[in-house]
């Protein structure tokens, strides 16, 4: 990924992240605001519910008080106490309840048994344990003849004038009609879950009540709003069960369908009896559709802004790339050219900012490099001339000294008799001839080095070159002088074809040089191995010996002209070899450790078959 792409990605991510952060903040804030509003509405409704509940309680209490205070009821109570016969009043409760518009009314005799029941007339004679309760109104689940039970708001009163006391227990249903009277805000739904409870009849088989209240399983059909059963009532199960178990108001977000807008903020308020048992649960649900729609709207806007921002970032990145990345790209290309050896590279200096300063520094650096290279070339050239002069002086000094002696002998021999002079002359001229020939040889070597021929390339297989070397030096290695041990010549050639485009004579000369060096490195005998194998795009030729090896310093300077480790070497052999290999676009390296032999590794480009 180049700098321009990185800048584009960076700008896009920055804009998208900024938009996302703003959108998230707004969404969270909206959610908090809506939740606060829902909580306030719920709290308001709860307070209204409590007021309505108290109002209903007062109504029930007033109705029961009115009945208890009526002359008819007091006379009835007196008669019941006096005669002990409650049979004539079997239907009295029904009549009284109808007159007082109560849903429930029971007359309870002095013995605590029901005398008359409006809601269940057949229940006369059965005990009513809460009749003695004279506190305020209370919630109670009332059993009905059809086996069901309904929730009611009750009040119990004692009928004055009769002793022992006769009681009244009256109440009104807490059902859908009650919910219909509650003030409900728009978007709010109020429903009542009345627990199935345990009917007095159904519980007759269990002589003792369980210590821990056992709630009937949640029944969605029992969750009713003012208009009837509510949709998706089963989704309220966890909330209502929690309120039933804990006895505390519980709030939660309920998802009524798979759509988020069909979710509600629901609060379950347990309605308890005077003993603290949860008899019913009032649920207040406030639709979250408004909030969800607002969130969706904001999210859509955020997506739009983010898309626009990304497009804007692309445009900006292109413009900024023109300003910033283009000089840097030019610098990168210039650096690549410098690395390739073009030290004369220059980049334009357009600005005065950091990039412009970087360009100026780069140009200064390349100028310095070119200057230093020039000085280095000059220095090397001087050093080479000095080395050449030193070598020439060294090489020429040896033959010149015998020449000088011979000439001086000839001068001194002029005083000798002619016969002796002739003898001396003949020997001197012979010596002069030999030394002059020696000087010619030295000059010829230097001449050869300076006049390396241009390679005449032809296709050949590496095996042919190796075989030619083997045939030339294998016998020489086996039959050496008396003061040398024989050398074992080995070759290791890959069976695969190893074609390359080389000058056979130059390469033969280079390999011969390496073989002779290897033989010189093993005066006490050893193994000389010549191997070749194809690589991916190259041919690798290795010349190894088992001699004394080379130090790292020697390895580093080995190919320097006129550097030699031999006593009578010119230091030009390996330089010539490196020159030949370089002329073939190849490379040569040496691998060696002291006393572990040395290996020269030549790699040459492989040629394509048929080329």
């Amino acid at each position: 990924m180049n700098l321009r792409q990185k800048l584009l990605l960076l700008f896009s991510l920055t804009v998208a992240a900024a938009v996302a952060a703003v959108a998230w903040t707004v969404l969270v804030r909206i959610r908090i605001v809506f939740e606060q509003r829902d909580q306030e509405e719920t709290a308001l409704f709860v307070s209204q519910f409590q007021r309505e509940f108290q109002h209903r309680s007062a109504e029930v209490a007033a109705a029961v008080d009115h009945i208890a205070a009526s002359e008819r009821v007091r006379a009835m109570a007196f008669e019941v106490v006096q005669s002990g016969d409650a049979a004539p009043y079997l239907t009295e409760a029904g009549t009284l309840a109808q007159d007082a518009q109560l849903d429930f009314l029971e007359i309870v005799g002095p013995d605590g048994n029901v005398v008359s029941s409006a809601q269940w007339p057949a229940r006369f004679g059965y005990p009513e344990p809460i009749a003695n309760q004279t506190t305020t109104t209370f919630l109670k689940r009332e059993d009905l003849p059809d086996g069901t039970s309904v929730l009611g708001l009750f009040a119990a009163r004692t009928i004055r004038g009769a002793e022992p006391a006769v009681h009244l227990v009256g109440g009104k249903r807490l059902d859908q009609n009650f919910l219909a009277d509650l003030p409900v805000a728009q978007g709010m739904q109020v429903s009542l879950y009345s627990d199935a409870g345990t009917n007095v009849l159904a519980g007759l088989d269990t002589p003792t009540a369980p210590a821990v209240p056992i709630f009937a399983p949640f029944d969605p059909a029992r969750l009713l709003s003012a208009t009837g059963p509510i949709a998706n009532a089963a989704r309220y199960q966890s909330l209502i069960d929690s309120a039933r178990k804990t006895g505390q108001p519980t709030s939660s977000i309920l998802y009524l369908t798979d759509h988020r807008e069909d979710s509600v903020n629901a609060t379950a308020i347990p309605l308890k009896s005077d003993k603290g048992d949860v008899l019913a649960v009032l649920t207040v649900s406030i639709s979250r559709s408004g909030m969800v729609q607002a969130q969706q709207h904001i999210r859509a806007i955020a997506y739009g802004v983010a898309a626009g921002g990304i497009l804007f970032a692309i445009v900006c990145s292109l413009w900024i790339a023109a300003k910033v990345s283009r000089p840097i790209e030019q610098l990168a290309r210039a650096a690549e050219q410098v690395a390739a050896g073009n030290w004369e590279t220059h980049v334009p200096e357009r600005s005065r900012d950091e990039v412009g300063q970087l360009a100026r520094s780069f140009n200064h650096m390349t100028a310095q490099l070119a200057s230093q290279r020039e000085r280095l070339v000059q220095t090397e050239r001087v050093a080479a001339w000095r080395e050449l002069a030193r070598r020439l002086a060294h090489e020429l000094k040896n033959p010149l000294f015998p020449l000088q002696l011979t000439v001086e002998n000839l001068v001194r021999a002029r005083a000798l008799p002619p016969e002796e002079f002739d003898e001396v002359f003949r020997e001197s001229t012979q010596t002069l001839g030999m030394e002059i020939a020696n000087l010619k040889t030295i000059i010829a070597r230097f001449s050869d080095f300076s006049k390396m021929p241009k390679p005449e390339l032809e296709h050949i297989d590496a095996k042919e070159i190796i075989e030619r070397i083997r045939s030339l030096y294998e016998t020489t290695c086996a039959t050496t002088n008396l003061d040398q041990q024989p050398i074992c010549f080995e070759r290791d050639l890959s069976p695969d074809p190893m074609p390359f485009l080389v000058d056979p004579e130059l390469l033969h000369r280079a390999l011969s040089n390496l073989v002779l060096n290897a033989m010189d490195a093993m005066p006490e005998g050893g193994t000389l191995t010549l191997s070749a194998k194809p690589l991916a795009n190259q041919i690798e030729i290795r010349v190894s010996d088992t001699g004394s090896g080379l130090t790292p310093e020697e390895c580093e300077r080995l190919f320097t002209p006129y550097y030699t480790t031999k006593q009578h070497g010119t230091g030009l052999g390996l330089a010539i070899v490196q020159s030949v290999i370089s002329d073939h676009n190849g490379s040569i390296a040496v691998e060696s450790h002291p006393n572990k032999g040395a290996t020269f590794v030549i790699t040459l480009p492989k040629s394509s078959p048929g080329v």
């Binding site: 007339p121 229940r123 009849l201 007759l204 088989d205």
Partner: protein
């Protein structure tokens, strides 16, 4: 069959001419008793001039049906009726309204029929039901002490052995007989009138105490009845005939072979031991009459003997 005459006199052997043919009304009135039935509405009994016992005092009797008790009493109070029905449990109320009330001996048996099929094919469960019903509560409260608690088919006034059938409830024994079996859900059918429905609900409450779940339904619309609260009329003043008629009324065709108290007791005991019919109480038939009605007597089955009745203002 020594009881053939009384058997033939029962209501279900009546022969009624409903159509004289081709849609024409019969030419003459129906019947050979003191009154003859005429066609049309309201049903009218016309004095039979040729009655062998002598012509009745009143010329005709109009019978109005399908009127509530309240309307009947209203008609009586304003002079539109001379004889009206009074449910037994409302005798006290009728007296409080200063109506002249005339009541028969106990002639209507309130009984609980128990199916011997399904879960109730177990005789122990039927026996448990019989022991769980609180007859005294039914009699004293629902029927306002106008009933006679009984556990026999025939009233004690007719046989004298009714006391041999215990009427007390025994919840412990009922529980024991039920034996901890799972509480079955039973349907109890009763007539759709408030008193019978209330009695049925009370019985349901009693049965719940021994572990039965009972649902009270309307007898007219009930598809299935495990229990049924019945009103069985005493059709004869002759014990043997009355017993045979009653057994036949509940679908048992067991002839009573001996017309002796021991034979009747044995027959009754054998039948009641099956607990397919549980007698609860006997009720009288009660009427309220206007002030001008004279010499009204009730027959053995509680029906008014109209042939002897005269009206004061008609003299």
């Amino acid at each position: 069959m020594p009881n053939l005459p009384s058997l033939l006199a029962e209501n279900h052997f009546l022969i009624e001419l409903t159509d004289a043919g081709e849609g024409k009304a019969p030419a003459c009135c129906i019947g050979t008793g003191p009154f003859q039935l005429t066609q049309g509405f309201p049903k009218t009994l016309v004095a039979n001039e040729n009655y062998w016992g002598g012509r009745p005092f009143v010329d005709k009797v109009e019978i109005l049906t399908n009127k509530s008790i309240r309307d009947q009493w209203l008609d009586l109070s304003v002079g539109r009726a001379d004889i009206v029905e009074v449910p037994a449990e409302q005798i006290r109320l009728a007296q409080q309204q200063h109506l002249t009330v005339i009541a028969s001996p106990p002639v209507t048996l309130i009984a609980l029929a128990v199916a011997d099929s399904g879960v109730l094919s177990n005789p122990n469960l039927r026996a448990a039901i019989a022991l769980a019903v609180d007859r005294s509560a039914l009699s004293n409260v629902i029927f306002q002490k106008q009933g006679e608690v009984t556990a026999s088919l025939l009233p004690n006034s007719l046989t004298g052995y009714s006391f041999l059938f215990p009427t007390e409830l025994d919840l412990n024994k009922a529980h024991e007989l039920r034996g901890g079996l799972p509480a079955p859900t039973l349907t109890l059918a009763a007539e759709n009138n408030p008193t019978m429905q209330l009695a049925a609900q009370r019985i349901a409450l009693n049965l719940h105490e021994v572990g039965f779940n009972v649902q009270v339904v309307n007898a007219a619309t009930a598809q299935h009845k495990d229990l049924a609260l019945l009103e069985l009329a005493l059709s004869s003043s002759q014990p043997q005939s009355a017993l045979e008629s009653m057994l036949r009324g509940v679908g048992v065709a067991t002839p009573v072979l001996e017309n002796t108290p021991a034979g009747l007791y044995k027959t009754e005991r054998e039948f009641l031991d099956t607990h397919t019919l549980i007698p609860l109480l006997y009720l009288p038939r009660v009427y309220a009459i206007s002030g001008r009605v004279r010499d009204l007597r009730l027959s053995a089955d509680g029906s008014p003997l109209l042939a002897d009745v005269s009206l004061q203002d008609a003299q």
